[in-house]
C-alpha cells in the first residue's frame, strides 16, 4: 500500500519526462506561437507565416540531412561549407542555364558528402574530424573558386528564390517535398531501416550482414546533396552567390533542430517531424526576439536555454 503510494509519483514523473522528450518540441512551438499571437503586432498574418517559412527552409533542409547522419551515430559539420561550394558552383555554371547550374551544384554537394562518407565508413576516421576538415577545406575551395560575392541576374533562378505556386513560395514547396521524401525514406525504405540499425549498434549491424559502409557512404552523400540544395535556395533568394558568408554556423542551427526535435546524438533513432518542429521553434524564437527588438545576445541565451532543456530531457534515454 505505502509502497505503491510512494512509487506512483516517480513513475508519473518519468512518464512525463519521456513524453516531454518526444513531444516537448511541439509544446515549445505552441508556446512561442501563443506568446506572439498575444504580444507581437501583425503576427497572425499570412505574410508573416510566409516570411518565417521562407527563412526556415534552408536550415530545415540542412537539418534533414543532419538528422540522418546523427541517426547513424555520426555528425556532419561541413554542411555550411558545402552550401558555400554550391553557391560558388551556381555562379560558375549559370552560363549553361539554371538547370545545369543547379545540377552541378547539387552534384558537387553530393560528392563532397561522399568524400566525408568514404573517410568515415572505409577509413574509420571519426565523423567529427572528417567533417571538420571538409568544413575548413570546403569553404576554402569555395572562396578560391569565387573570391567575392557575385550577383545573380538569371530570371529563372531569381523566380525560384522569390516566386510562389498557389501562394506558397517555391522555396517552401521544395522544403516540404524534401521533408516528405526523407520521412518516407526513414519510415518505409530498407535504406532508412538500415541507417537506424547502423546507429543503434554498428557491430550488430555488421554481424547481421548489413552493408554498413555503403549505408554510411550514402547517408553522408545525401547530407551533402541536401546542404547543396539549401545553398541553391539561399543563393536564389539572395539573388547573389556569397561563398564568404552563406551557411556560416548553419551546422549548429541544424544540430540544434535535430536534437531539440528528439533525435538523440548517440544515434539509433531519428525523428523527422520533430526535426521540422525543432527548426521551426528556433526560427520562431529568433523572429520573436528580432520583432521585439531585443539585443542579439538575448537570442543566443534563449537558444541556449532551449538546447539545455532538450538535452536534459534526452538524458534519460539510457534508462528506458
Amino acid at each position: 500500500m505505502t509502497v505503491s503510494l510512494r512509487g506512483r509519483p516517480r513513475v508519473d514523473r518519468e512518464r512525463l519526462l519521456l513524453w516531454m522528450r518526444d513531444y516537448g518540441v511541439y509544446v515549445g512551438v505552441a508556446l512561442v506561437v501563443l506568446f506572439n499571437v498575444v504580444f507581437t503586432p501583425n503576427f497572425l498574418s499570412f505574410e508573416n507565416f510566409r516570411t518565417q517559412a521562407v527563412q526556415v527552409a534552408p536550415v530545415l533542409i540542412v537539418a534533414l540531412g543532419m538528422a540522418l547522419v546523427i541517426a547513424t551515430g555520426g555528425i556532419d559539420l561541413s554542411v555550411g561549407s558545402v552550401m558555400a561550394l554550391s553557391a560558388a558552383m551556381i555562379s560558375l555554371y549559370l552560363g549553361y542555364g539554371p538547370l545545369v547550374a543547379v545540377l552541378v551544384a547539387v552534384g558537387v554537394g553530393a560528392l563532397a558528402g561522399a568524400a566525408n562518407g568514404v573517410l568515415v565508413a572505409f577509413a574509420g576516421v571519426q565523423a567529427i574530424i572528417v567533417t571538420l576538415a571538409m568544413m575548413i577545406g570546403g569553404r576554402g575551395l569555395a572562396l578560391v573558386l569565387l573570391p567575392q560575392l557575385d550577383g545573380v541576374r538569371n530570371p529563372d533562378l531569381r523566380e525560384l528564390g522569390s516566386g510562389s505556386f498557389l501562394a506558397v513560395p517555391y522555396v517552401v514547396w521544395i522544403a516540404a517535398l524534401l521533408v516528405a521524401a526523407v520521412a518516407f525514406l526513414v519510415r518505409r525504405s530498407v535504406f532508412g531501416r538500415r541507417l537506424v540499425a547502423v546507429g543503434g549498434n554498428r557491430r550488430a549491424a555488421e554481424l547481421s550482414g548489413l552493408p554498413v559502409r555503403r549505408v554510411l557512404l550514402g547517408v553522408y552523400a545525401l547530407s551533402g546533396a541536401l546542404a547543396a540544395v539549401a545553398g541553391v535556395l539561399v543563393t536564389a533568394r539572395l539573388q547573389a552567390a556569397d561563398p564568404n558568408s552563406v551557411g556560416v554556423l548553419i551546422e549548429l542551427s541544424a544540430i540544434t533542430a535535430v536534437v531539440v526535435g528528439g533525435t538523440p546524438l548517440t544515434g539509433g533513432r531519428v525523428r523527422i517531424a520533430g526535426t521540422v518542429a525543432g527548426a521551426v521553434l528556433m526560427q520562431l524564437l529568433v523572429a520573436t526576439l528580432i520583432k521585439h527588438d531585443l539585443p542579439p545576445s538575448w537570442t543566443q541565451m534563449a537558444q541556449t536555454a532551449v538546447i539545455i532543456g532538450a538535452v536534459y530531457l534526452a538524458r534519460d534515454r539510457g534508462r528506458t
Binding site: 516570411t51 567575392q148 539573388q239
Partner: protein
C-alpha cells in the same frame, strides 16, 4: 577461429588504407574537376571593377581640420631617415579580400608600391587576430623595414610594437587605429572617422525623411568598433537635430547581405509603417532592398541610407532604391606611401590623418558612379 579472425582483419587493414586513399583521391579529383573543369559564369567579364581605368576623383583627400595638429618625424621617433624606394615594405591585411572594401584597399596598396617601384610583401589574417600578430612578425622576419597595417582590432598589439621599436621599424596603420603612443609605437593612423560617417548618415536620413518618421538601424557585427562608432554618431545627430525621428529598431545584420535581408524581412512584418532604414554597410543595405522588393514595396517606399560607397549600392541610388550612401574610401595606397616617404625623408607627418569621405545621393549618383569601388 579467433586466430583466423584476427588474421583476416589484419589482411583487411593492410589493403584497406590503399583502397580508401584511392577512393578519397578519386572523389577529391572529381570534386576539383567539377569545380574548375568547364565553368561558364553568367557573363564572361572577369570581376575587376578595381581595375577601372580612370582614378581621377577616386583618391583619398585629407581633412586637414579633423586630422589634428600633432606631428611626428624620424628624429622624434628615433629612426634614421631613409629613402622609401630602397626599403622593403610589409603590408598586413586583416580580413579576406572577399568584399569590395578589402579588395580595393589591398589593390590600392599594391598599385602604389608598383608605381613607386617599392618592394612589397603582403599577408592576410582572414579575420583571425592572433594570425595577424604572427603575420606581422613574419613580415618583419622576412625583412620588412616599413610596416603598413590594416588592424583587425585596435588593442593587443604590444608584442609587435615592442619588436618594431627594437628594430627601428616605422608602423603606419590604415582604416583602424592601433592603441598606443603616436611617434613612439607608430608613426601615423590614416583613416575615416566612423563616428562622423554615422553623423553624416543621420544628416542624409533627416534630409530624405524631412525630419519625421520611424527609422530602423541594421547594425554591423556586434562588438566591432566600426559598428559602435557608426551607431553612436548616427544616434547623437538624430537626437540633437531631429526630434521627429524615432529609432524603433536596432538589430544586427552582421555586415552581410543575407543578414540585412532576413532582418529586414522580419522588420517589415512587425513594423509595416517604417519609413527609413540606416544600414551600416552597403551589403546589408542591398539585402534590405532585396527584402523590400520581395515584399512588394516600390523603390522609395522605405528610404535607405548606407555607408561604404560600393558600385552596387550607388547603382541602387540611380534605380531609386537607396536614398544616399556615405562613402568610406578604401584607397589608402597613395596617402600611406606618401606619408611613409615624407617620414623617411625627415619631414613632419601628422600622427592622425583623417580623410574626407564623399557622399552619393540622387543628385550625383549617376555622374559619380565611376568613382565608386
Amino acid at each position: 577461429m579467433i586466430e583466423h579472425h584476427t588474421h583476416h582483419t589484419g589482411a583487411g587493414t593492410l589493403s584497406r588504407p590503399r583502397r580508401v586513399l584511392l577512393a578519397t583521391a578519386a572523389v577529391g579529383a572529381a570534386l576539383t574537376l567539377a569545380a574548375t573543369g568547364c565553368a561558364r559564369g553568367e557573363d564572361d567579364v572577369a570581376a575587376g571593377n578595381a581595375a577601372a581605368g580612370d582614378t581621377e576623383g577616386q583618391a583619398q583627400v585629407l581633412d586637414e581640420a579633423a586630422s589634428g595638429g600633432q606631428t611626428c618625424n624620424a628624429q622624434d621617433h628615433g629612426i634614421e631617415p631613409f629613402d622609401l624606394t630602397d626599403k622593403k615594405v610589409g603590408f598586413s591585411q586583416s580580413e579576406a579580400e572577399s568584399n569590395p572594401f578589402r579588395i580595393t584597399e589591398t589593390q590600392s596598396i599594391k598599385d602604389e608600391a608598383a608605381d613607386r617601384g617599392v618592394e612589397l610583401i603582403t599577408s592576410n589574417a582572414q579575420s583571425d587576430f592572433s594570425q595577424q600578430i604572427s603575420d606581422v612578425q613574419d613580415l618583419m622576419s622576412q625583412g620588412a623595414e616599413v610596416l603598413i597595417i590594416a588592424p583587425l582590432n585596435s588593442d593587443g598589439w604590444k608584442p609587435v610594437l615592442d619588436q618594431a621599436r627594437a628594430d627601428a621599424i616605422p608602423i603606419l596603420t590604415i582604416d583602424r587605429p592601433i592603441n598606443g603612443t603616436a611617434c613612439e609605437d607608430y608613426v601615423t593612423f590614416i583613416g575615416s572617422d566612423f563616428v562622423e560617417q554615422g553623423r553624416r548618415a543621420a544628416d542624409q536620413m533627416i534630409d530624405v525623411l524631412g525630419g519625421e518618421g520611424e527609422v530602423a538601424i541594421l547594425l554591423g557585427a556586434p562588438g566591432n568598433n566600426v559598428t559602435t562608432d557608426r551607431t553612436s554618431g548616427f544616434l547623437e545627430r538624430i537626437e540633437a537635430e531631429a526630434p521627429g525621428i524615432e529609432i524603433v529598431f536596432q538589430q544586427s545584420g552582421d555586415f552581410t547581405r543575407e543578414g540585412g535581408q532576413s532582418v529586414t524581412e522580419q522588420l517589415i512584418q512587425s513594423q509595416p509603417d517604417i519609413s527609413g532604414i540606416y544600414a551600416q554597410n552597403d551589403e546589408m543595405g542591398i539585402g534590405a532592398v532585396t527584402a523590400l522588393n520581395g515584399a512588394g514595396k516600390a523603390p522609395g517606399d522605405v528610404r535607405i541610407v548606407t555607408v561604404d560607397g560600393t558600385q552596387a549600392a550607388v547603382e541602387y541610388i540611380v534605380d531609386g532604391w537607396i536614398a544616399a550612401v556615405v562613402e568610406s574610401n578604401p584607397r589608402f595606397g597613395p596617402l600611406a606611401f606618401e606619408a611613409a616617404s615624407a617620414f623617411g625623408s625627415g619631414e613632419d607627418v601628422g600622427t592622425q590623418l583623417i580623410i574626407t569621405d564623399r557622399e552619393y545621393d540622387a543628385d550625383n549618383a549617376e555622374e559619380e558612379l565611376p568613382h565608386a569601388y
